[in-house]
């Protein structure tokens, strides 16, 4: 089984450890992992900003890079959601591309969804002594149906306790360029998310999208919270965190 890892542009730049954690989990599960070297960005920033043409160009590039793989997996509900639910819409008027896009969309998975549904991962390398709370990032939840999968995987981590926060499914306020264009609204949304995270008393908030992580971590620290860790679910499962033994 050849799995193409879509690292995502944010992970590539801002937190490579998530990419390595995803790699490790996929390899633990026995997958042969291919990391196309020329991958850059899935085109979502342009797509969500109304730049259809730019988005199509980057989408076509990504299809080229990944279509030979048996699966495309991304440690992000947002980027996998872009490929799976929005690429077909982007090429709706281009029948020859549409067939290729649809084929790729059909084998595109968010990481935890893939680990649970396709490879049925039994044991995970990570350890965590403490309580975590899980934030359901919007695209993962509503476009990719990711809800039970990360929780099922987290339950396999020795030492971990899950404490659900209130409104786990409410948007953290990231929204890509929204977070800059409407910074005040976005910060307020992040602030409410942080309050719910703190109220859960968890030692760490765990989630599956780096954009939301940066938003939540940025707001937690600005609020003066230095205690609550912000971890990607892949980092925790792979044991690629400070306390995770691998």
């Amino acid at each position: 089984m050849k799995v193409g890892l879509l690292v995502t542009c944010l992970v590539d730049m801002m937190r490579p450890s998530i990419g390595f954690a995803a790699l490790k989990l996929l390899e633990t599960a026995g997958c042969g992992v291919l990391v196309p070297a020329s991958q850059t960005c899935c085109g979502q920033p342009g797509y969500n900003s109304g730049d259809r043409e730019g988005a199509r160009r980057l989408a076509a590039k990504l299809v080229e890079e990944f279509e030979a793989c048996d699966y495309l997996v991304a440690p992000s509900g947002s980027c996998s959601g872009m490929v799976k639910t929005h690429y077909p819409e982007l090429f709706a008027d281009d029948p020859s591309m549409l067939a290729r896009v649809a084929a790729l969309a059909a084998k595109t998975y968010e990481l935890t969804d893939f680990l649970v549904k396709v490879v049925k991962l039994e044991a995970v390398p990570g350890r965590f002594a403490g309580t975590v709370t899980y934030h359901d990032s919007c695209s993962g939840l509503r476009e990719m149906g990711v809800k039970a999968q990360p929780r099922a995987l987290l339950a396999k981590v020795p030492g971990i306790k899950l404490s659900e926060m209130n409104e786990a499914e409410t948007c953290c306020g990231f929204g890509g360029t929204f977070s800059i264009k409407f910074g005040d609204i976005s910060s307020r949304m992040a602030d409410k998310k942080c309050q719910n995270i703190e109220d859960s008393q968890a030692d760490a908030v765990v989630l599956g999208d780096l954009g939301c992580m940066l938003n939540i971590e940025g707001r937690l620290r600005r609020r003066g919270n230095e205690r609550t860790k912000v971890l990607h679910v892949a980092e925790l499962l792979a044991g690629e965190t400070d306390e995770g033994a691998s």
Binding site: V7, D12, M13, M14, R15, P16, S17, G19, F20, A37, S38, Q39, T40, C41, P45, G46, Y47, N48, G50, D51, R52, G54, A55, R57, L58, K61, C138, S139, R142, E143, E169, T170, C171, G173, F174, G175, G176, T177, F178, S179, I180, K181, F182, G183, D184, I185, S186, S187, R188, M189, A190, D191, K192, L214, N215, E217, G218, R219, R221, R222
Partner: protein, 473 residues
Amino acid sequence: MQIATMYFKDRAQLKLQDELLQYNLNKSKGKFVGKRAEAIRELDDFEATRDAAKSIRQRVLDNLDTWLEIFEENARARGTTVLWAETPDEVNRHVLDIAARHGLKKAIKSKSMVSEESALDHAIEAAGMKVVETDLGEYILQINDYEPPSHIIAPALHKSKEEVSALFAKVHGTAPKTGIQELCAEARAVLREHYLTGDLGITGANFLIAETGSVFLVTNEGNATLCTTLPKVHVAITGIEKVVPTLEEASTLLRLLTRSATGQSITNYVDILTGIKGAGEFHGAEHMYVILVDSGRSKVLASEVKEALRCIRCGACMNHCPVYQNIGGHSYGWVYPGPIGSVITPMFIGQEVAADLPNASTLCGSCASVCPVRIPLPELLRKHRETQVRLDLRPVGERLGLRLWTWLASRPALYAWATRLGVRVMKWLGGYEGRIHSLPLASGWTNGRDLPAPAGKTFRELYAARRRAGRQT
């Protein structure tokens, strides 16, 4: 209504600081969201009912002209006069003509968002008539110098009981009341007088029933019942999209409307008004008019956002919208706030003046997940963003930034080099703390948040190094 959509950002900024509003929003949100969640559990198959509702509405829109003709024919057969209004001004003109024709002096009105589009109350007053809003929320706003509504089903949602109490004491000249029941009783006593003296009843319509030519109305206060039965003339004003083929289908929609809106299995009152009072009948208006309003709706129908016309105005999308819940309805600056407002407002008043609205969303999808008629609101907001790019309405900086990003991301080698440089600069900016407190080009981010600094090397370079090391060992 006066257009204030261009002040979206400034208004939102003020509303974020308004602690009383924040408190009021929080309180109502909990109620709406919780009650809806409970109410939809009563339905055996909520999702299938949503599918049915979607297809009922879509079937109408696919042949809207035909269904409108059927409605018109059946309404006429029962003595109702059907009038058409292409613009908001025409709506007001029709109403004033009707008032002049029958010598009417005083309008009593139940809630109609469509009439807000044309600021009908002001037109009526300018013509020397009196008008009284009888929906409690609308009444509160009217006596507060015609404050605009902030929600489509709970127009005074932004106000607390204490604010209403102070307002009533001031306007009615009564002692301030503390309990909600006392306040309602006071409003009821004041309104009762108006019901008995009004000679023109004005309402909206939740649905128009094609097969019977009826106007279908839901309220919780019974005010529409009084407005449509006591005065001698009843005028219903509604958008052309509101037609539904049969009563059977309207009842399917009703099951979703009330549950999605207020979490009720049905509203306290449902009025189905079919034609004028017949010979020997006791109730009903002597003259009934239906004004079918276009005001941009046929433009929506011919556009990429046409699915928005399926809307049955339940308000669930705003109740579940994290942006609306933080800034309130007034920030949006026109009649319809929240996700559906951000989709239809640019079509009604122009993309240029309402340019912020479709962009002021994280596209989180919460709205679409609750919409009873499955309007893909985030997709429609994105369509508007595409239109704005096409019309060159986006700021230069944003356009250049996006173009540069696409250009760079299409050139992997250059991209690799640029990102390597970028993450090193950002790491340096993050200092020993590992976080950036201020970024001039992204102050929108850093005003309210830190930016966690990157590790300083990209995944791709670390991965390449790892592969090289692996090969050597």
